[in-house]
């Protein structure tokens, strides 16, 4: 099947089988390898992207299901002014070591902070539970998201 999917404002076309996962379309067909593939069973969160603004697991969607929808991946996060506040905060707060989980965290947290700009510490930690990190122990990540939340609110 030939499909066309909008990713980060650009149309990507490709030939897929019905069984092709969206995560594989993003990485192999569109060539956007920022999105990582970890467990392929919806547990680790490394493949998280945004579908029409909502954070979703791209390994739990078929590529054909994204026809006519707008996707955003980590490549679409930085703007003309450089890195997104979340990306900068992750850098500054040492919220990554190997970096494999980072794109998933960023796409999850960007959607979360948009919906919950005044999230409590508890809400934030609960929201982070959908992504696994095996390097940092999470403290740097919590700190980074708090820092980005303050910056995005304009505190």
């Amino acid at each position: 099947m030939r499909i066309s999917v909008e990713i980060n404002g650009r149309e990507y076309e490709g030939e897929v089988e019905p069984r092709t996962l969206l995560s594989d379309f993003i990485r192999h067909t569109a060539g956007l390898t920022g999105t990582k593939v970890g467990c392929e069973q919806g547990v680790c969160g490394a493949c998280t992207v945004q579908l029409d603004g909502e954070a979703v697991r791209s390994c739990l969607m078929l590529a054909v299901q994204a026809r006519g929808r707008a996707l955003r991946t980590v490549e679409g996060l930085a703007g003309e002014g450089g890195m997104h506040p979340l990306q900068r905060a992750f850098h500054e707060a040492h919220a990554l070591q190997c970096g494999f989980c980072t794109p998933g965290f960023l796409m999850s947290m960007e959607a979360f902070l948009r919906e919950h700009p005044h999230a409590s510490d508890e809400d934030l930690r609960e929201a982070l539970a959908g992504n696994l990190c095996r390097c940092t122990g999470y403290l740097g990540i919590v700190e980074a998201v708090e820092q980005a939340a303050r910056e995005l609110r304009g505190d």
Partner: protein, 265 residues
């Protein structure tokens, strides 16, 4: 780990979907349980019938006091519904415990019911609420009470040619409170045990357990005791008395107590 090959159809109406259903086909709703099973090749259907394009199955509305939820309603839509928060708070409490936000953005209410995972929160809450599920086939629609719907793990009374189209939740009982408590090893993980309770002191009591069996288990002895004025701790001890595993029994008893107390608060 990639899905096995399958044929794929994406009907845009229930009428178009029904003839495609059968023994060799599997319905794809939100995909948050099915796609992992496909990726692990534990599910190998000949045909996937993707119902994500059926807009007529995406709604939450109250009619004459009854809540009607279309089967393709995303879990996040239920979570954000002010109507549900206000009138059926047990559903709001339960939905917040389903997976993570990234799962609820795709997962559907109907999918959670039809998949019938024994660790799923929604079937437990819906059983406590006395919900009915509407199954459509080429022959017509039949309603099934939640209490009769679940037969075992991933096993329900739904026939292969039937599509779950609507979840119907009756009008809330006047003055009733509700509670939901669960235990999972980590937040968002599958729950080991849990309990849902609805209490209108002296009038009505519903206690349904998660993890006490292969499907939601109605704790009838506890319900009778509560209607007769028993204390939460006493009723909770009755609720899980038939659970054989000691650890599970302890968990269910404690979670039932918390759910009942929350419902009475």
């Amino acid at each position: 780990m990639k899905p096995p090959p399958f044929e794929y159809e994406a009907p845009s109406s229930v009428e178009e979907a029904l003839p495609l259903l059968g023994l060799d086909s599997t319905v794809l709703a939100g995909g948050q349980s099915l796609v992992p099973l496909l990726n692990l090749r534990l599910a190998q259907p000949e045909l996937i019938v993707d119902i994500n394009g059926i807009a007529e199955l995406d709604y939450i509305r109250a009619e004459d006091g009854t809540l009607r939820i279309g089967a393709m309603t995303r879990q996040v839509t239920l979570e954000r519904s002010e109507l549900v928060k206000e009138r059926w708070p047990l559903l709001s409490k339960a939905i917040g415990l389903v997976g993570h936000a990234q799962i609820r953005s795709r997962g559907t209410v109907g999918g959670s019911v039809a998949h019938a995972d024994p660790a799923a929160e929604l079937p437990v809450a819906l059983t406590a609420l006395g919900a009915r599920f509407h199954l459509r086939s080429p022959g017509g629609t039949r309603p099934v009470d939640a209490a009769d719907f679940f037969l075992g793990p991933l096993y329900t009374v739904r026939e292969p040619d039937e599509l779950l189209v609507e979840v119907e939740v009756p009008e809330p009982i006047d003055g009733a409170g509700s509670g939901f408590a669960e235990h999972a090893r980590t937040h968002g993980d599958f729950a080991t045990a849990g309990a849902a309770a609805i209490m209108a002191p002296g009038v009505h009591a519903a206690v349904v357990l998660l993890g006490a069996g292969p499907m939601p288990v109605r704790a009838e002895a506890a319900e009778r005791a509560l209607t007769g004025g028993a204390e939460p701790r006493e009723a909770a001890a009755l609720s899980a008395q038939d659970v054989e595993d000691e650890h599970r029994r302890a968990l269910c008893t404690e979670l039932a107590r918390r759910a009942i107390e929350e419902a009475m608060a």
